[in-house]
Amino acid sequence: MKTFLVRAFKLGAFFLGFALLLAFANRHLIITDTFAALTMHEMKARDDIDLALVGSSIVRDHFNTQLITEETGLNAFNATVPTASMPASIAMTRELYRTSSPEWTVLVTEPYNFQTVREATEAQYKLMPYLSDFSNRLDYYLRACEDDAYYVDRLLMFRGFGAASPSEIAKTVGLRYFPEATYARLKETIDPTVSYKGAGFVRHETDKRADEEIKSVVRKYTGYRYELMDASREQLRVYQQLCQEKGSRLMVVIYPNHTAQALAEPDFLDYNDSLMKYCAELGVPCFNFMFARPELMPRLDAYFFDLYHMVGEGADIFSQAFARVLNAYAAGEDVHHLFYENRWQYLDSLNFTTNAWITQFDPESEWNPALEHDEAHVRALAKTQDVFLADCNHYTMFTPEYRFVLLEPDGNETLLQDYGADVLYACAPGALSGRTLRLYARIAGHEASGEVFFDLAVE
């Protein structure tokens, strides 16, 4: 028996030692997200957070915490992890609740991080090593593994997210133990247009805009219904319970995406409706800033520097609007007049097009049901001619019109077909080969709302 116990002890000590080695690797030999590390460090050090804004990078970049604090009188903090889904939001909120007891907890969602049961593995290495409680870490790990069952890969983070160089290890160690000094040192090497402003807010000051990226947002026929998943419902219930246990008032905010996203995938609005309906069932206030009326907030499309993120100026406008809604709601005022009542009212306000595109019809390809063209007519034309189909993102109650021009190498335009009812341009086979075809699009009867263009280099 004695021998057995000694051996068992030795074996236990051996594996404990190895577990410590793995824990060390998971903590120090992985890459680190600079802003997530700074956010976690500051959050742990603070016990005065009154307003917790929880979510992914859309919260980090768009809730100007300083401005919101000034406007609401509540100490606001962005508790965020880039690419985070609900498991990370739950874990992050638990971490925040360890030291602070916020009066409000605002969960900010968008379909891409809420309407999924999958936690991005990238979110994990940014968050898990910084969670203080073992139980919270374990809970987060199990939730993250629930869908993909990557138990081993997610447990051994140093495998997938191992630091590739000594400088990356130095960064990880530095941000963990000397975050301010390390950030000061790193500032010289990172993109100067991005900076951590404190309280979890990261400001982008760039001249870049998403004009080109938006051109890739085209109408798709996915056949997918954005009904809330059971897992999403369950996670929201868990989140509500978490807030209730802490005595924090929960609010759900749906973040406004670029209008092109809503027009390209109008079914996407179903998701917003479902979430709002479910929040109402749970008794949780939910505001969809996609439906914000102009008197609350102007349209923010011009501030996007990529498909999802806005520059600081856009963040300020949005934060102002959010603070106004929060103040009014907290004071017991009715804020519903600040939002369109439903998707139809919202869509009626979209009397413009965000972007257009041309498809050179290939008779061999399968017909795309998302195209607003007469298939038989197009196929008949394509037997003898090259056919170019015009399309744009627009609300279906409005009629778009198109103009086709030939763009010369010197930038001059030669009109091929002026604005009218025709939604395609047909020409002799090969007539446009090697040339650039430009399409202009606008909404008929709403010319003042502007036009957009798209260039196609014809092969």
Binding site: L21, R159, G162
Partner: protein, 519 residues
């Protein structure tokens, strides 16, 4: 079941095994084996049950007929003359033969149907049957038929208890890809109630770790390159093809032998010693030596149940006698072995799959072995002329190892190619169109492996070769490791375990099963 799940399952079963009362331990093994099999696919259960029950029942009937015949001989000893005894024996043998062939036909028939009907129908342009090959069906069929043959030939008595026999057929570590065990070597071990022994656990766990390393760190990492080049061979020159074949050598060996190490380690957790299935085959000095080191249990099965019975057939014996007159004693003596090798490797080739490349692979090996057997006297004379000093020198040994390696690798062209035509095309390109530029123009980084993958494979292969060299020199690596001072042992083990955990190919990079599990 993933490899991690299998490992966790094995340790859980081992814990349950040692907590069980001694007399029911074998029953627990049977229960967990069936549980494992059902988990891997409940649809495969009827097949293993069919094999188990038909073999058990057939062997029992064969045994009973034999016993009855003996009893009759004993009872009627006085009244029967020699002719009468012979007739009685012949009648019994006839019945036994009938049962024997019926069971043999049933089991190999099912195996052949499941294995060959879908590809043959597909190649004939008929609608393909969607028959899924049950996990490890080849292995348990071969194992069961080996038992049946042994009982039929009177090597041992049949097992009376169907549950005990079921355990012999279904012992879960073996189900995946063997090794093919013999009843007289394994059954008693399975039924014996093993007491807990720390050494078994320690040694078993080490072997499992080594198998995991070979499978998940080396084989699965090399797999993308092999798959890509063999699937799109027309895009690559001979130089890249040679690399792919070498990677296949490594991948196939590590996949199969790694899996065997893993299952042998699992069996050791229960105090059960499985027969070795690999003995560092790439150190072989001849093709015959290679096949005595590679998939040893299948080789032994073929030797005992196909090669010897064939070589001892009367027509073969007559042919040998006829050859003696014409070609001399040496040739006549080697002829049955040569023909036997061709037959055995043809069968092994067909066992690999119903396509021409496998047939050619089998013939290639069989014909070289046949030629080796027939030319053995010439080799002996050549060696004598070279002298003992040269023949036993290190340089000659290395030459023979490399020569064998090349011969084996040429065979792998046929084994791994998707079609026989591909194999010939690849061989032609290896000889005449190497396209060396593909070695430096970035092609190697477009084959599914990044530079870091090549580096990891280089380090891992170096570890594998170092350990193999030690073993080849007779060093018992596990014993040597356990005998090290504690700090050195811990550092070595931690370093290796950390390396394995850091470098294994995970689930999110594709989850490759064992190659031979589908045979």
């Amino acid at each position: 079941m993933s490899l991690f799940s299998l490992i966790a399952f094995a340790f859980a079963c081992a814990a349950a095994y040692y907590l069980c009362p001694l007399r029911v331990r074998w029953m627990l093994l049977l229960a967990v084996s069936y549980l494992y099999y059902a988990y891997c696919g409940a649809g495969a259960l009827p097949f293993i049950l069919l094999t188990t029950l038909s073999t058990w029942g057939g062997a029992l009937m064969i045994g009973r007929i034999g016993e009855k015949q003996k009893a009759q001989l004993k009872a009627r000893k006085a009244e029967l003359d020699a002719a009468g005894k012979k007739a009685l024996k012949a009648a019994a043998k006839k019945k036994q033969r009938l049962i024997f062939f019926a069971v043999l036909l049933l089991n190999f028939g099912v195996l052949a149907l499941l294995k060959y009907a879908p590809p043959l129908l597909a190649s004939a342009g008929r609608p393909a049957l969607s028959l899924l090959l049950p996990l490890g069906i080849s292995f348990y069929t071969f194992q069961s038929m080996g038992y049946l043959i042994d009982v039929y030939s009177g090597k041992y008595a049949p097992e009376k208890n169907p549950a005990k026999f079921a355990l012999f057929v279904s012992f879960f570590p073996q189900l995946i890809q063997g090794p093919i065990a013999r009843h007289d070597q394994l059954a008693a071990q399975l039924l014996e109630p093993h007491a807990f022994d720390y050494e078994n656990i320690r040694r078993g766990a080490m072997l499992m770790l080594w198998g995991f390393f070979k499978k998940k760190v080396i084989a699965d990492r090399a797999l993308p390159l092999v798959s890509e080049v063999f699937a799109s061979q027309s895009e690559y020159g001979g130089a890249v093809i040679v690399i792919a074949v070498l990677f296949y050598s490594l991948q196939q060996y590590c996949d199969f032998s790694g899996g065997i190490d893993l299952v042998t380690g699992i069996a050791e957790l229960f105090g059960i010693r499985l027969a070795p299935n690999f003995k560092r085959p790439y150190f072989a000095v001849s093709l015959g030596d290679f096949w005595r080191r590679w998939h040893i249990s299948l080789g032994a099965w073929m030797r005992d149940y196909v090669f010897y019975p064939f070589a001892l057939l009367k027509p073969v014996s007559n042919l040998s006698k006829a050859a003696k007159k014409r070609f001399g004693t040496d040739f006549a003596r080697a002829l049955p072995a040569a023909l036997g090798n061709v037959l055995v490797f043809l069968l092994v080739g067909v066992w690999h799959g119903a396509s021409m490349n496998y047939v050619l692979w089998g013939l290639y090996n069989g014909l070289i072995l046949a030629a080796s057997a027939l030319l053995e006297p010439a080799y002996k004379r050549m060696n004598a002329r070279l002298g003992e000093a040269v023949v036993s020198s290190r340089g000659f040994y290395v030459f023979r190892v490399l020569r064998t390696f090349v011969i084996v690798n040429i065979g792998w062209y046929f084994d791994r190619a998707l079609r026989a035509g591909d194999a010939f095309a690849m061989l032609a390109k290896t000889a005449f169109a190497p396209r060396f530029a593909q070695l430096t123009d970035g092609t190697l980084l477009s084959l599914g492996l990044a530079a870091s993958d090549y580096a990891l494979l280089a380090v891992s292969t170096a570890i594998l070769i170092a350990v193999s060299v030690l073993k080849e020199r007779g060093v018992k690596v596990r014993d040597r490791l356990f005998a090290l001072p504690a700090p050195a042992k811990i550092v070595l083990l931690y370093a290796f375990m950390f390396f394995v955990l850091a470098a294994f190919v995970g689930a999110n990079s594709g989850n490759a099963g064992f190659m031979y599990a589908i045979f």
